[in-house]
């Protein structure tokens, strides 16, 4: 049996999984990602995960044909190397991600940007199945983006394409760590919802009570908390406007919304979809679907192993 390893390196966790060529997982696990450590430590941590999975493959009488890994940052997908600095991993900069893993295990390895990898998972097995033109937004601590054009993942001319959290929706808006101002991420990410909630409370002369996360705010919405309603209305308005902007520019068939914030439930997605339809041009949005991502927490590892399979298939086709 042909097996593949999928790795999903994030700011908090390293997720890893072993699966077959259809993305069905045989075993999976999670480790701390050691995001603050030196690159060597991050690699050693990855190696431990891969070793575990290679052992598991033996038990399943399978051969691991490829390893895929998603990482934050701009990644030269052809060579599997990180270009420049990765956000959230301070020592993860200009790293030969895939080549290092490939040398260590003698198994072909492939790396790509984490949002791209998640988009691959959604397009092959999730909410994007059957579509050829799609925009995937992962709304969490930041807003990541993936773009499928004519059935192919779009990467831009230097692998820096589809930073869709950094489209500008307020020309003179809030500064963004990306160096710009007024980026969508500053208005619709999880931290943005928390900020908007604080602002809405302040408008009512109230203050934030204790440590909150976005989940708490969505819960408050169900108990009729007016400030929570205001914050979520505003954030969904911003996200809907950002989507309308992308729809006018790219006329996709489907927008897929994933990430932590999308778990808030269907009310949120419906709000966002309504605004996107109101604000986008009729011609570009008349058949537009706005869907919740379906692959959940395992999108990263499943996308990574599907990506490894796809790259190996391409090699075989070319030879």
């Amino acid at each position: 049996m042909d097996l593949y390893i999928g790795l999903d390196l994030g700011g908090s966790f390293l997720k890893y999984a072993l699966g077959d060529d259809r993305g069905t997982l045989l075993t999976d696990g999670v480790r701390q990602s050691r995001a603050q450590s030196a690159a060597e430590d991050i690699f050693n941590n990855i190696f431990l995960a891969v070793e575990k999975l290679l052992e598991a493959a033996l038990i399943h009488n399978g051969a691991v044909k490829g390893i895929g890994i998603g990482s934050p940052g701009v990644i030269d997908a052809e060579r599997g190397t990180l270009l420049g600095q990765s956000p959230n991993l301070p020592h993860w900069a200009d790293i030969e991600i895939a080549p290092t893993i490939e040398r260590k295990f003698g198994v072909p390895a492939f790396a790509d940007n984490d949002a791209n990898i998640m988009t691959i998972a959604e397009m092959e097995l999730g909410a994007g199945k059957g579509f050829r033109n799609a925009i995937c937004l992962t709304v969490g601590t930041g807003i990541g983006g993936g773009l499928f054009i004519d059935g192919k993942l779009f990467r831009g001319s230097e692998y820096a394409g589809s930073e869709l959290g950094h489209i500008v929706i307020e020309s003179d808006g809030l500064p963004c760590p990306c160096g710009g101002r007024g980026c969508l991420e500053q208005y619709a990410s999880a931290p943005a919802i928390l900020r908007l909630y604080g602002e809405a409370l302040a408008e009512e002369g109230r203050r934030v009570d204790g440590d909150l996360d976005v989940k708490d705010i969505f819960e408050k919405l169900t108990t009729g908390d007016n400030a929570a309603k205001k914050a979520i209305d505003r954030a969904s308005e911003y996200l809907g406007v950002g989507i309308a902007s992308l729809v006018n520019a790219l006329n996709p068939e489907v927008i897929i919304i994933g990430g932590g914030v999308s778990n808030a439930g269907s009310v949120y997605i419906e709000k966002v979809a309504k605004i996107a339809h109101e604000r986008a041009m009729a011609n570009a949005s008349k058949n537009l679907q706005v869907r919740k991502a379906e692959m959940g927490n395992q999108a990263g590892v499943i996308g990574a192993l599907l990506y490894a399979r796809k790259r190996i298939e391409q090699r075989e086709t070319l030879n």
Copy 2:
């Protein structure tokens, strides 16, 4: 000699030209476009232009192999038909543009959106030569957009793609005839520059004196008119921000700026380029070029005849 006809239907003029397979023009002309007339009148006007060019082809001992036409609106490029209403031409809606021309003359005809056609001209012969990933913006009465991805014109899932004048740069901004709000077109087109000039004058307690067009405002800039400077600074800031947003989303190699406003000269393009670089993410913009369109007033007819040639070549390859 193989010849092609290029037609460029606009809100004011119908431009027409006869050229060879490299886009070199043998003869060309302009007529009123009869934009307010019934579709039949617009077609009769087009037919007169084509007849003239067919006669010219005989004189050049050439055979007209194809006719290309650019028109405002969303066009099903496969069939050459206009989908829905064209802006500026009230009776030009749901029209079989290319099929009607083809039936009349027995020559293969092809239609596409005018901004797409201009993009084709720039990519083959103008500022986009040698690039595979490019964004073309035509800044005039409106802002049109064309997108080349991986060497191919991008049209979106329903031919409504790349309405780049309608990316949103002010989430709660000015209403736009497109049905949205805060579109780039409302802040950086020729009418927007006029509005910004009026606002800048008002800030100084002055008023617009007589009928002005954008050219006048760029002229006032050279005479040290402070309000003109403010208006153009603001419009170029907006355009630069819009470009930064597109660069973050699409990581193109080059941005090509055409249309009436781009004729204002290199100072304007340089201002816009500076802001785009400041506001875009470093990874996505480090090698970005911002260029003035090179094809000038004939971009439409040249693009249209190159498009006809390309479509006919594709047919011949497939058969």
